[in-house]
């Protein structure tokens, strides 16, 4: 995969794996690939993968079992919390940017709703054609 070289690589690895967990590609309790395998598939250094894993373990999202490997936590609460954090982060980004343009809260809500409707139509068109 392509990384943004301005952002620490370990952080981007963490984001990739968290995205997979939230999207359900990695289910709670799933075993993560071996470190070297992850490094090869992401084309990054083994040490960087290790650092990303260490942080994910510290945050409780990944559970390390000695001699068996690393697993996604089966604690649904943590996954849910992770999801909420991500949603909050993206919303904050959106909100901050629009707010900076002096767009009122009310208008933001309206624009978002309208946008979602348009996207919905677009997706429908795509599936029909």
């Amino acid at each position: 995969m392509e990384f943004d070289d301005k952002v620490p690589i370990y952080y981007q690895i963490k984001t990739v794996i968290y995205d997979q967990i939230i999207a359900g590609q990695l289910a709670p309790g799933d075993k993560l690939p071996a470190i070297r395998q992850l490094a090869v598939s992401l084309t990054v250094n083994v040490n960087t993968v290790q650092r990303a894993l260490r942080e994910m373990i510290d945050e409780g999202v990944v559970i390390s079992q000695r001699g068996r490997g690393n697993f996604v936590t089966s604690n649904a609460e943590i996954v849910e919390q992770l999801k909420q954090e991500l949603i909050d982060r993206y919303l904050k980004q959106l909100y901050d940017q629009l707010h900076r343009l002096n767009i009122s809260d009310e208008q933001i809500v309206n624009e978002v709703t309208a946008y979602i409707e348009r996207q919905g139509d677009l997706n429908d068109d795509n599936t029909e054609s």
Partner: protein
């Protein structure tokens, strides 16, 4: 055991020209370190001095606290195994030679690599393209079970497909407890696999930093950061 490569107060002149001045460097652990600098900055010379094939420098070079030349050569795998070899040799002959003179040559690993890199052992060195030549060099260099790997510009002048395969081989086959130094004058292609970078400029080392620290502290890409050292900050325009 973690590997330590130490260079202390290294000074080197050749043909009445200063090439390295007061170079000190300490690398530890199982990292991959990028040795960056313009062409002619002294990257190759530094590697050749560490590997023990360049002579007459003042200063101390040690690997795992060993300074003896022959011992150092046994701990270091330097990526110039074809230097001076007759070009009419076949890959299989080169491998036989390597296997004979390096007690730490791992044939099984070598075979895995040449299969992955699709090297044809019956080819002669003179018939190899730049990319294929580099693939052979990587296979020979990594097939040794060394403490330190010195790869001198393994990507210069080769196509992106070969480059990707070589990078993958490095990730896959670099022994877990070894130290690796990769030199390059063009950093963006290897930036994601580097733990640390060392920049050689004006005959000496001007920067030695962790790659992610640079990204965190400056918010710059490694390439932008590297270029800014040369005063080419106009890349932001």
């Amino acid at each position: 055991m973690t590997t330590t490569l130490k260079v202390e107060n290294l000074n080197y002149r050749r043909n009445l020209k200063r090439i390295l001045a007061d170079v000190s460097l300490s690398l530890t652990g199982n990292k991959i370190v990028g040795l960056l600098g313009e062409n002619g900055a002294g990257k190759t010379t530094l590697m050749r001095l560490i590997a023990g094939v360049a002579k007459n420098a003042k200063g101390i070079i040690s690997v795992n606290d060993k300074t003896d030349l022959a011992t150092r050569k046994s701990l270091i795998s330097y990526s110039n195994p074809l230097g001076g070899m007759a070009t009419n040799k076949r890959i299989s002959e080169v491998k036989d030679f390597y296997q004979q003179v390096y007690p730490d040559f791992d044939e099984q690993k070598y075979n895995q690599m040449i299969t992955f890199l699709k090297l044809d052992e019956s080819q002669r060195l003179s018939a190899l393209s730049k990319g294929t030549g580099e693939k052979l060099v990587i296979s020979l260099t990594l097939a040794r079970q060394a403490s330190v790997y010195l790869l001198d510009e393994p990507f210069s002048g080769i196509d992106s497909m070969s480059r990707k395969k070589i990078i993958n081989s490095i990730i896959q086959w670099k022994p877990a407890d070894s130290l690796m130094v990769i030199s390059d004058h063009y950093v963006s292609e290897i930036a994601p696999i580097l733990d640390e970078i060392v920049v050689v400029k004006d005959n000496t080392i001007v920067v030695h930093k962790a790659a992610d620290t640079i990204r965190e502290e400056s918010g710059q890409s490694i390439e932008d950061y590297y270029e800014s050292l040369y005063g080419e900050a106009d890349s932001n325009d």
